[in-house]
């Protein structure tokens, strides 16, 4: 106990900071899209609309089956459901009638929720009272939002408004 113990000089700032890295890179490719910071393929405002999305819902009616897909603007088809899959074909009478569209909507909604894709862009304009309209109804009833959130643009210091940051919203 008879020794002089030198205490190293600790600068004041370490009291406020933690020991983790200053920079952190999140490798999850879907993170930026979830945080609304990722860029959508923009700039085609003079073209026919339908190119600005992260995920898009596509319905392809065929002669012997209907295909419902969710495509990503870079990675292509991400979630696919066809009425010609044995799982659906087993229970349906016809692979292309209205019941098939309704069932397809339910199954697509369930799979998208399981895969973590709950919001997607959709530019289908179905006829009133038609099969595609029933399909979209089932998709929305299953819990999918057919509208993607706007890209969060960081406000410059001179901007008028300061919109709410998506990552600071926590439900208790």
């Amino acid at each position: 106990m008879n020794f002089i113990r030198t205490v190293p000089f600790v600068p004041q700032m370490t009291r406020l900071s933690s020991t983790a890295n200053v920079e952190f890179v999140n490798r999850n490719p879907r993170n930026l899209e979830r945080m609304r910071i990722a860029r959508k393929p923009d700039g085609y405002h003079l073209e026919k609309p339908g190119r600005k999305y992260w995920h898009k819902l596509i319905l392809t009616p065929g002669n012997r089956s209907i295909i419902a897909k969710v495509i990503h603007f870079l990675n292509g088809p991400v979630v696919e459901v066809k009425t010609s899959e044995w799982a659906l074909q087993k229970q349906l009478y016809s692979p292309t009638d209205t019941c098939a569209y309704i069932s397809l909507g339910k199954v697509l909604a369930q799979r998208c929720l399981e895969f973590g894709i709950t919001e997607m862009y959709c530019d289908l304009e179905p006829q009133k009272g038609g099969k595609a309209e029933k399909f979209l109804e089932e998709v929305v009833k299953g819990g999918i939002t057919l509208q993607e959130p706007e890209v969060y643009k960081k406000p410059n210091p001179w901007d008028q408004f300061r919109p709410e940051k998506p990552w600071e919203v926590h439900d208790e």
């Binding site: 952190f24 945080m35 991400v78 044995w86 349906l92 019941c99 001179w158």
Partner: protein, 394 residues
């Protein structure tokens, strides 16, 4: 020349633009590459470096009997009058549970692989390897109110719901041995390319996870604040024989650094004996339980991050900027900290920590500002009263 003549006139006249002739740059439109082609060229990846290897089990081929059985079933359906009647009257309702069960057996593995590629799971676990998850894993987190939260392929689960190890079920015969590894792909605090092993159970006989050797005890997920969504992956491997992984045992009281893990290196070492067959993953975002984890379990300060946006482009400052409001122009080139300091001092002047703040005025600009005040300053005051702009950065 044109400008000097007009300079003598009154300022109300708009200055005429001097238009320069348009010069064609690059290839003519018929030969030029489109934006899509240019992006493809930029993102071009050589096949030699991007070819992937299937490290799992080969896909199960359908035998002839199965196909015949299915054809027979379809013929039976087509001749069923009741089914047709209910289908035409829109009363036919399919059983979603049955659909899911069949899907898991038939096209499920391929769809799971597709979505895992979309989330970059195989890329970060095995690099150039991938596998088709033929066996379905049911990982259920017990939410204490009687319900269970399943882990599928990418659904969002809060860390408060994942505090305890989930109940894992899968189909197996009693003789087979399995290994379950639970890693976080994005959560490493110091090294970006590495993962943290949250749970490792080896030599599991059949279905019973409790009877397997827990080499690394279960740890709750801790996605850092402000970093967004982290992925957490369960991989089930089938073992040929009893394997002794040379990993030191990690308990819940040992350091976090012991859990540093690179799946690719570990799998390379043991690839002759184990094959991946099951996959389940979820995403998780910051929650208050992560804060209590850092404070109570790790005894460390909790780090908080914010996305590093690129700085806005501000034109180089000119000596004589034309038609720019001088106060706003010069504020762009000042130190933002000094500007915010002015606003903060102004705010603190009217604040009393012991009194409640006064309620906000309904018409804040109804009070007139002194007539002697210059117009730019009046506008500045009006903006502060309305709560526009820099006053919110405080």
């Amino acid at each position: 020349m044109l400008n000097t003549i007009r300079g003598a006139r009154i300022a109300a006249v708009q200055l005429q633009q001097i238009r320069l002739g348009h010069r064609v740059r690059g290839n003519p439109p018929i030969y030029a590459r489109s934006l899509k082609q240019r992006i493809q060229e930029l993102n071009y990846k050589d096949e030699l470096y991007t070819s992937r290897i299937d490290i799992g089990f080969p896909p199960i081929k359908q035998s002839k009997e199965v196909r015949d059985h299915r054809l027979q079933h379809l013929r039976k359906i087509k001749s069923d009058k009741n089914l047709e009647k209910s289908s035409r009257n829109l009363k036919l309702e399919i059983n979603l549970e049955d659909v899911r069960k069949e899907w898991l057996k038939t096209t499920g593995p391929f769809h799971k692989k597709q979505i895992a590629d979309h989330y970059g799971v195989f890329e970060h676990l095995y690099g150039e390897g991938y596998f088709l998850p033929h066996l379905n894993i049911d990982a259920l987190y017990n939410l204490k109110d009687g319900t269970f939260l399943p882990v599928c392929a990418g659904n969002v689960i809060k860390p408060t719901e994942a505090l305890e190890a989930p109940i894992i079920t899968y189909e197996s015969d009693d003789n087979a041995l399995w290994t379950l590894a639970f890693t976080s792909l994005d959560g490493h605090l110091y090294e970006n390319e590495k993962e943290y092993l949250h749970w490792l159970v080896a030599n599991i006989p059949g279905n019973a996870i409790e009877k397997g050797e827990t080499l690394v005890e279960y740890l709750q997920p801790f996605p850092l604040k402000g970093t967004g969504y982290h992925r957490y992956v369960f991989v089930l491997y089938k073992q040929d024989k009893t394997i002794d992984y040379a990993l030191p045992k990690v308990t819940s009281s040992s350091a976090l650094q012991d859990r540093t893990f690179v799946t690719r290196e570990w799998y390379k070492k043991h690839q002759d004996n184990i094959t991946p067959i099951g996959l389940a993953f979820y995403q998780s975002v910051w929650d208050y339980s992560v804060r209590s984890f850092f404070h109570n379990v790790l005894n460390a300060k909790e780090p908080e991050y914010e996305y590093d946006f690129p700085a806005p482009y501000i034109r180089p400052q000119e000596w004589f900027p034309r038609r720019k409001p001088f106060n706003l122009y010069m504020d762009k080139y000042r130190d933002p900290k000094k500007i915010n300091e002015e606003y903060l001092l102004r705010k603190l002047k009217n604040e009393d920590p012991f009194k409640r703040p006064p309620p906000p005025l309904k018409f804040p600009n109804a009070q007139q500002l002194p007539k002697s005040m210059p117009s730019w300053l009046k506008l500045h005051e009006k903006k502060i009263r309305l709560g526009w702009g820099r006053v919110n950065d405080v």
